[in-house]
Every structure is written in structure tokens, then in C-alpha cells.
């Protein structure tokens, strides 16, 4: 039986009194069973008084302070007490709370029950920077719903030992997410070693990963431990795993299964305790179907899968990232650039960013370096943006702007034809990802002309220039 608590005001129910208090309030009897809860607590817990009258208070509050009801029983036996802890609300949020638990004196000497007041401490905790997820993001930036999902998954993935496969287009931040998972894991104090499986030829990649013993091949003058051994106790991040040659995939699978391997030329097995995080921008399932990636390795790596959305699916983040990189590069270079003009911003927001955050970052860095005023104008954006925007954009501003037709006034910007030409070359080479033949074709020049201009603008390294001079 739950105890009756008559209202001190005739005609006014106890619950009506409690509803006037702007905190969650529960009144419980001597058995710590609910007698009344107010509307605030109903909203927090998602239950109604009718549903939970007579239920043990622990089960209703979902707090971390109850200690199987001991805290409340102690309060019944003693003085009022204040405890800080948290609850899990109806919308599955963990909310920091201050619980003030006071005995209610009945007519006899013994207390008739308790009144428990919950004071929300979210603002205090957040302003003190004590939020539970404050370090999740590390240097990963994003506020869009898709990125919030990623942020929520990172700590979960950090707390398991399973292999993680991170997929996403180039420039979406796969490396940073892998590092964040490592930093949040129990392996954080141990090495995080990254190796690009697409950057090295097969034989070199094998020796880099598994190491070799002295005399294994010509030039192996001493033992080399390899990345697996260097990452002992930590995490090995295999980026561009989709480009790993098939024979090496077999060996990697074997290591993942057995946690041991033979170094090149070695006769003694090496045992390793390494967590694997792999990443790729390639569609691995398709590569499996094409016979370019082993199916068993795919399933072995794909225990936990995290997909990073491309920037075009993170609309709310683009503006945020632009401002972030602008501040970063302006501070780093000591530039006085403060903002983008509305026009420049509109052009950037309309751009698809196939290179994702990496491309956005590079564009902002370019603009900060090129811009001579406090505001970045459309003319300060890389020219290749206009070329890409032109087929879809109807506005005249999206048309390619030939430098001859619209040179910025030199007295305002201090730029001359040479600087514009340099900018044009850099922009075109960025567009062709460094391919000079394609860049020359786009610019309407011969390859030699482009080469000469590259040298004029100091866009070739001294060694390269020297080779060309000798050859020429």
C-alpha cells in the first residue's frame, strides 16, 4: 500500500502543487514507491503518474545514484541529502542532475516518505566544457545530422576490438575518423600507424607491413620490424585498402585470423596484437564482384562499417567549414582577410566539391593567399570553379571569366597579368590533378609552352628544372 499524502491546501491536489515547481519532483512513500510525480518529471521520464503510481522510484527515475535503492533508504533514515548524478530521459539523453532528497515527516517520529527534487545541471556542465562527447570530434568538424551520427558511432567503435572499415569519397576525413577511434580506444597510449596500401608497389608494401630479416633479399642488410610489429598493442590503419594487391590480401587475412605471421625471409613466426582499421574510397563490394578484392577479407574487415557522407550531403556543414578554414588560414598566414563576399559565398555553396573537405580546405587556403583585401570576392576564387559551374549555372557570374576580359583593377588589388596567369595555371593544374598534358590542352597551349611558363612562375622544383635544362 502506498501512503496517502493529504494536500496542505483543501481542494488543491498535491500533484497540482508539485506541477507549480519548475523542476522534476517525485514524492515517494516509506517503501520508496511513487506517490506522486509532477508534469516536469513526467515529461523527462516519459511516464504518467497513473502508470507508475506504486512503482519503485529507481525504475522511474533511471538515475545512476540509486544504488539499488540504498540512497533513498539512507535518506529515509537520516537527514536530507544532495547528490549529483544523471538520468536517462525519455528521449534517451543522459542529463546531469542534482538530486535533493528530503524526508517528509509524518505524524509519528518516523518519516512518511521522501520528496525528491531533480535540478537539471546541463547548462552548468556544458559551460564548464564537461560534456560527455566534447572530445569525440577531436579535429573533425560537422553539425549536420549525418555527421552527428558519425560522432555518436566513433566512441562505440572505439570501445570494441573489432576491425573497422571506413568508406567514403576522397577527402571526407577517413583518416581523421580512424585516428579519433584510436584515440578514444584503450589502445590510445600505443602507436597509431598509418600505411597507404595504394602508394607502394606490392613487394615494397609487403616488406613495409610485415618487415624482413637480414639477408632476405639483396639490400636487406639488417632486420626491419615492419608496420605490424611497430603498431604492437596499438592500431594499424590501412588506408586505400581497396588498392591492396591480391597476393598481399591473402597474407593480411591470415594475420587477421591468426594474429601471427612470418616476416619476409624469416623462419620464426611473429605474434602481434594489433587492431585493424581499414579505409577506402572504392566500392569494395563491386571490387569483390570483379575479383579484385577477396570476399573473405572484405567480410573480415567489415565487422564494423562506418560510411562518411560526402560534403554535398552535409549542406549545413559547408558554410561552417568555410568559416572555420577561413579563420584558420587567416590566423596562420597573418592575413587580414575576414570574410567571403555574398557572391563568392554563393558560388562556393553552389559548387559540388567532388574533392570534398580536402578540396574545400584547399580552395579557402588559395583564396586567403590570393586575396589582397579584407573580403574574398568571386574573382579571388580559383578559376577552375567557374569552369565546373558553367554547364549547370544559369547566372552570368558562373560563366568562365577570361582574365583578358575581366582583369581585376591593378590599383585595387596590386595584381598584374603575370600573377593572373600564374593563378590560371595553378587553377588548371589543380583541375587536372597535376596532369600537365591535360592542363596544356585546356589552356590551349603546347606542352612546351606550359613548361616554359611553369618555370617562369617558379612552379617547378629546382631539381626538375635542372633535369629539363640538361635534357634540353
Amino acid at each position: 500500500m502506498t501512503a496517502e499524502f493529504p494536500s496542505p491546501f483543501p481542494g488543491l491536489a498535491l500533484v497540482a502543487l508539485l506541477d507549480a515547481i519548475p523542476h522534476g519532483v517525485a514524492v515517494v512513500d516509506r517503501e520508496c514507491k511513487i506517490v506522486a510525480i509532477n508534469q516536469t518529471l513526467e515529461a523527462l521520464t516519459g511516464v504518467t503518474l497513473a502508470e507508475v503510481r506504486g512503482v519503485y522510484v529507481d525504475f522511474v527515475l533511471r538515475s545512476n545514484i540509486a544504488r539499488r535503492g540504498r540512497t533513498f533508504r539512507e535518506a529515509l533514515a537520516g537527514d536530507p541529502l544532495t547528490v549529483e548524478g544523471d538520468i536517462v530521459s525519455r528521449d534517451r539523453r543522459k542529463i546531469p542532475m542534482r538530486f535533493t532528497i528530503s524526508p517528509l515527516q509524518g505524524s509519528a517520529d518516523e518519516p512518511a516518505g521522501l520528496v525528491i527534487v531533480l535540478d537539471d545541471l546541463s547548462d552548468v556542465v556544458n559551460s564548464a566544457g564537461l560534456g560527455a562527447t566534447e572530445d569525440v570530434a577531436d579535429s573533425i568538424i560537422g553539425q549536420s545530422p549525418k555527421m552527428r551520427e558519425v560522432f555518436e558511432l566513433i566512441p562505440l567503435m572505439a570501445h570494441t576490438e573489432a576491425s573497422v572499415l571506413i568508406t567514403g569519397e576522397t577527402g571526407t576525413g577517413k583518416d581523421k575518423v580512424a585516428e579519433a577511434i584510436h584515440k578514444r580506444s584503450s589502445r590510445a597510449a600505443k602507436p597509431f600507424i598509418k600505411i597507404n596500401c595504394g602508394a607502394l608497389p606490392e613487394s615494397l608494401l609487403e616488406s613495409e607491413l610485415f618487415g624482413y630479416v637480414k639477408g632476405a633479399f639483396t639490400g636487406a642488410v639488417k632486420d626491419k620490424p615492419g608496420m605490424f610489429r611497430l603498431a604492437q598493442g596499438g592500431t594499424l590503419f590501412l588506408t586505400e585498402i581497396g588498392d591492396m594487391p591480391l597476393p598481399l590480401q591473402v597474407k593480411l587475412l591470415s594475420v587477421l585470423d591468426d594474429r601471427e605471421f612470418f616476416p619476409l625471409g624469416g623462419e620464426k613466426k611473429v605474434q602481434v596484437d594489433v587492431r585493424i582499421i581499414a579505409a577506402t574510397h572504392r566500392p569494395l563490394k563491386e571490387r569483390v564482384a570483379e575479383g579484385l578484392f577477396r570476399e573473405d577479407l572484405y567480410y573480415r574487415l567489415n565487422v564494423l562499417h562506418l560510411h562518411l557522407p560526402p560534403l554535398r550531403e552535409r549542406e549545413t556543414d559547408t558554410r561552417f567549414l568555410i568559416n572555420h578554414f577561413l579563420r584558420t588560414f587567416a590566423e596562420r598566414t597573418g592575413s587580414s582577410v575576414k570574410s567571403f563576399s555574398d557572391e563568392a559565398l554563393r558560388l562556393l555553396m553552389d559548387y559540388a566539391f567532388p574533392g570534398n573537405i580536402r578540396e574545400l580546405r584547399n580552395i579557402v587556403e588559395y583564396c586567403v593567399n590570393i586575396c589582397q583585401t579584407r573580403q574574398i570576392e568571386a574573382g579571388d576564387l580559383p578559376k577552375y570553379l567557374f569552369a565546373r559551374l558553367a554547364p549547370t549555372a544559369a547566372a552570368p557570374v558562373a560563366e568562365p571569366v577570361p582574365p583578358e576580359q575581366a582583369p581585376p583593377p591593378p590599383r585595387e588589388t596590386g595584381r598584374d597579368w603575370l600573377s593572373i596567369e600564374k593563378e590560371l595555371i595553378v587553377g588548371t593544374l589543380t583541375q587536372t590533378r597535376g596532369n600537365r598534358s591535360k592542363a596544356a590542352a585546356l589552356l590551349g597551349w603546347g606542352r612546351t609552352t606550359l613548361w616554359r611558363k611553369l618555370k617562369t612562375h617558379g612552379l617547378v622544383g629546382p631539381a626538375e628544372a635542372g633535369i629539363e635544362n640538361e635534357a634540353g
Partner: protein, 114 residues
């Protein structure tokens, strides 16, 4: 098919991350294959419990309050979560097997009516 319940004495534990005891029931349709087994956890850890749930191949979790991140994680792993349940664990399991348990259910047993 496996159902995991976070328990405290005879009830569903009020919070997933505070649970120190779990029960795993294997069933085939509405019938249990065997008596549910109880596991005492070494300490409170939502992360370790999540790991265990994935490794055990559990398909349904019945629990009290659970944080959104864990709920999403299980949804992502295609594990059904029936959370916010208050009441006797045996009653919760029976209802789940009958396909009648919903998130946020306060069972009659919680008010001593079961």
C-alpha cells in the same frame, strides 16, 4: 533467435549502462528453447555490454533507459531494442515472445498487479 534482458533482481534493470546482470533467452517463435541463462557482468559498462550483445548474436534487447548512441548502434547492427520497459523480467519476456512488448511499457507487475 536470442533475446537479451538487462535485469535487476526480478525486474528489468532501470538503466542499460548501470546493469550488472543480464539474461539471455533463446527461442524459436513464441517458445523458449531452454531456460534463460543469467550472466553476472564484472562491472557496469555499456560499451562492454554492447560488445557482448553483438558477439552473442543477440537479435532483441529488452532494457530500461538507454542512451541514444547505444540505441542507434544497435539499430545500425539490426538489433531490435525495446527500451524504457518497467516491470518484472519474466513478464517482459513473455510479452516479447508473444510480440506484445512495446518500448516504454510499464508492465502491471511493476505496480504489484502482475
Amino acid at each position: 533467435m536470442k533475446i537479451l534482458l538487462t535485469v535487476q533482481d526480478n525486474s528489468i534493470a532501470p538503466r542499460f549502462d548501470q546493469a550488472t546482470e543480464i539474461m539471455i533467452a533463446e527461442h524459436d517463435g513464441p517458445r523458449l528453447n531452454a531456460e534463460p541463462r543469467t550472466i553476472i557482468l564484472p562491472h557496469r559498462s555499456a560499451e562492454e555490454l554492447s560488445d557482448l550483445i553483438v558477439k552473442e548474436g543477440v537479435e532483441c534487447v529488452i532494457c530500461g533507459g538507454i542512451e541514444e548512441s547505444f540505441h542507434k548502434f544497435f539499430t545500425w547492427k539490426k538489433i531490435t531494442v525495446i527500451d524504457g520497459v518497467i516491470g518484472d523480467h519474466a513478464e517482459a519476456l513473455d510479452r516479447c515472445l508473444a510480440g506484445e512488448l512495446q518500448p516504454g511499457t510499464v508492465l502491471p507487475s511493476a505496480q504489484g498487479k502482475g
